[in-house]
Amino acid sequence: MSGRWAPGPRWGVLLALLLALGELPRARGVEEEPGGAHGEAQGFQVVTFEWHHVQDPYIIALWILVASLAKIGFHLSHKVTSVVPESALLIVLGLVLGGIVLAADHIASFSLTPTVFFFYLLPPIVLDAGYFMPNRLFFGNLGTILLYAVIGTVWNAATTGLSLYGVFLSGLMGDLNIGLLDFLLFGSLIAAVDPVAVLAVFEEVHVNEVLFIIVFGESLLNDAVTVVLYNVFESFVTLGGDKVTGVDCVKGIVSFFVVSLGGTLVGIVFAFLLSLVTRFTKHVRIIEPGFVFVLSYLSYLTSEMLSLSAILAITFCGICCQKYVKANISEQSATTVRYTMKMLASGAETIIFMFLGISAVDPLIWKWNTAFVLLTLLFISVYRAIGVVLQTWILNRYRMVQLEIIDQVVMSYGGLRGAVAYALVVLLDENKVKEKNLFVSTTIIVIFFTVIFQGLTIKPLVQWLKVKRSEQRDPKLNEKLHGRAFDHILSAIEDISGQIGHNYLRDKWSNFDRKFLSKILMRRSAQKSRDRILNVFHELNLKDAISYVAEGERRGSLAFIRSPSTDNMVNVDFSTPRPSTVEASVSYLLRENVSAVRLDMQSLEQRRQSIRDAEDMITHHTLQQYLYKPRQEYKHLYSRHGLTADEDEKQDTEIFHRTMRKRLESFKSAKLGINPHKKAAKLLKRERAQKRRNSSIPNGKLPMVSSLQDFTIKEKDLELSDTEEAPNYDDEMSGGIEFLANIGQDTATDSPSGIDNPAFSLEESPGILSGVPPWLCPGEAVVPSQRARLQIPHSPGNFHRLAPFRLSGKSVDSFLLADGPEEQPHAAPPESTHM
């Protein structure tokens, strides 16, 4: 990956490399001259050998291959990779390869150049980080992250630079052609914690996610500071120390804000564009994923062009677009994007570390100064620790999740330096910075020390200190269930205590998002009503088919499909993709629904491997998928696995109806006796609805579906199967949830039968039809929203009717129901959910 691939025979290198990889020790003996290809042309040659023609891409491809093969090699031994981080192994490999190249070629032919690094290797890694950023966690800790990124980095740069200068003045370093500004320049480039190195090491350590996001977020956001400090001091060095004025310093501070905010703005603009574009890619699905990469890359380049912070631009592009892009693009495209991004990022990371190793093997760049190197190491570690402690002390006054001593140790220790520093130091101009080589070699030593030594020891350290780790095991059923209950409890208590401070901004934002952004940026696939329904229907059928196969695999044969006995079918409910052995197959890709924060692909894999007990797995996954998500968890802007707004609203509606029904029942039994008069119930309900309308909107936590309400009535002809519901519906809805009070008597013509959860069996039709909780509706009559209709295929009951080939016993019921409404097989007594 070098710009130094000068034309000329590099044959020896290549062969030596390949042979060395084949573990042939005679590598050097096999040098050949590529004379054949370029011999005197004598007439037409059937076969020509054009090495120079393909040289550059060929070498690039070979290096990528070498790096990838090395990765395979590392993982042959699980023991090694579990102890030594991959990044360290790659650096060592790079050193070995560099040694071979040097031995073969006598000059260092390959090195990591800043151009290649900044233009091709860094963007995929940062984009990946942004696009898969757990936004809630990130924004929840944004204050902390910003403090560490800005103040922390300035602190590190200043103290390291000044201390080194102080020691230099004492004469300990001997005679160096170096001034204060050079030291500060060096301090500024060595100060920044490196995102690539941090990601590589922390992904393997699995500390808890708060700690991870703080260190990682800091490493991403400190780029702006680094860039500015670097530019400022570089220009100061160019100017010469005595010509620097106060105005320049002020300019430097101003430029920090311009660079950081500008970079962020560029990222947001491109995220907007990207989301907008993906809205219209329905007919070009095949290139859909391309837009994601091209536009985010353009954000990087644009901000580089404007000399803004490119890393911030592409990070925020990824962070901001993820929600809309994931909603817009098809599932296949989403999968493609996910895997391509991970592949590019992980590939780039591999190459970076390998080339860091290779670059170090170059006698020309080495200039040793023991005092300088050792003191740099000492200062960056010590000042990082001091900085972390000081800042944490301030932060802990405002944080609920206190950062404890142990966390601070890990944060200090996790301040890895990496390729960004290297690339920056290589960029220095030898004519201006006289001791460039000293800086380069020291930077390399620092990187190697932090990545290899700290990378190696951080795992044992984390274990020894018993740092809270991120959960790798599947929590026990009780933990999962009660954990979810805790979340619900907390959000309820927050609502009751009215302490929405923490959620206030988020609420404001999600309102804005719902009212404007989502309307503009998200595909209004709802408009294409019929097609969409059929599409969804088709997709569901596909999933069913997959479930059949999986079920067949589980049972050893597909005979159960043909088997008429229904007891066989009891456990086969195809209205939902059944979590089972299918986990590892196609449908896993179709519905990745892991709500927890998954910080890397590896943990996903491990998670899957760790699940053994099939029954447990089913139960866990059922819970995982269908437990209601508390507000805190679902009403946020990020979702790594694309929980769309639809689900939230559906969930809200479900719960709302359930709650209302229960309240009415208890009210009924308390005040009106067992059989209430319709009128009383109606009055009560109206009164309540009125109150609710007045009272609860300020709380405003409920999603509004207003975007979809406009075109509901006109499109009645688009209704697929629920035409018979419409008249009932209108009647009922004029009374709103009064319907609920009469549940006992109401035949509920179309209450779906596939639903076995008795809490729902009787109140499905309003549940399905009103996408909006009644108290948010402008009028008394709730207009069935378009989205509500779109949910029909999702609702198992209606789905049964749409899917005549369903073979489960329940589908028979659903047919009965659809035809003869007098049957109500699931008329579960209301007491079953009475509290």
């Binding site: 800790n141 204050g143 609920m400 999740v401 026990k476 009780n478 933990e479 269930l481 009660h482 954990g483 209950a485 805790f486 619900h488 907390l490 959000s491 309820a492 208590i493 927050e494 609502d495 009751i496 205590s497 009215g498 302490q499 923490h502 206030y504 939902t576 029954e615 447990d616 139960t619 059922t622 269908y626 437990l627 209601y628 507000r631 969930q651 809200d652 479900e654 719960i655 709302f656 359930r658 709650t659 209302m660 309240r663 009272s695 609860s696 909107i697 405003g700 936590k701 409920l702 639903i755 076995d756 959860n757 809490a759 729902f760 549940g767 909780p773 108290w775 198992p796 959910t833 509290m835």
Partner: protein, 208 residues
Amino acid sequence: DRGGPGLGGPGRAGDGSSHAARIPDVDSLRRETGFSQASLRRLYDRFQALDRTGKGYLSRLDLQQIGALAVNPLGDRIIDSFFPDGSLRLDFPGFVRVLAHFRPVDEEEEGNRDPKEPEPLNSRMNKLRFAFQLYDLDRDGKISRHEMLQALRLMVGVQVTEEQLESIADRTVQEADEDGDGAVSFLEFAKSLEKMNIEQKMSIRILK
């Protein structure tokens, strides 16, 4: 992290105390709940805002009018836990006492605590007890399979069939049940969650 709005800084303590004079028994409440003066004052404002008719206490209806609670699957149970023993009125001390369960655990405070005093409301065990009584509807000190099933029904979406729900309930009870009585006692409940960071999971920062 942002400080929540109205987080009472030292500069505001003065006007806080004059305001707090309106709160009945403010000192004993502070001792009991551990809330700061400023927090109590904020909560008192909230209490009065919820009590829209100015009757001096809250009824179930007052709490039910908080819109977001209607879409909280446990909303009604949580409201019920504010009204212990079937009472119909919730006064301010009762209101604060329940909320005090969710105050973050302060380790220093914990260390200095006099062991003879009763456990503070926000102790791990009390947090767990609060959660436990949401399940234990009949107040027999045990979560029966039936109670577990009821809670599950509330918290799980329509897509899950009754059979699945029952098997989940069975497994959940089984997993926690140690003495084999087919129900989860409070100790078993606490044990099954011993690996969880309850202190953190059941705390709200702004209730400091």
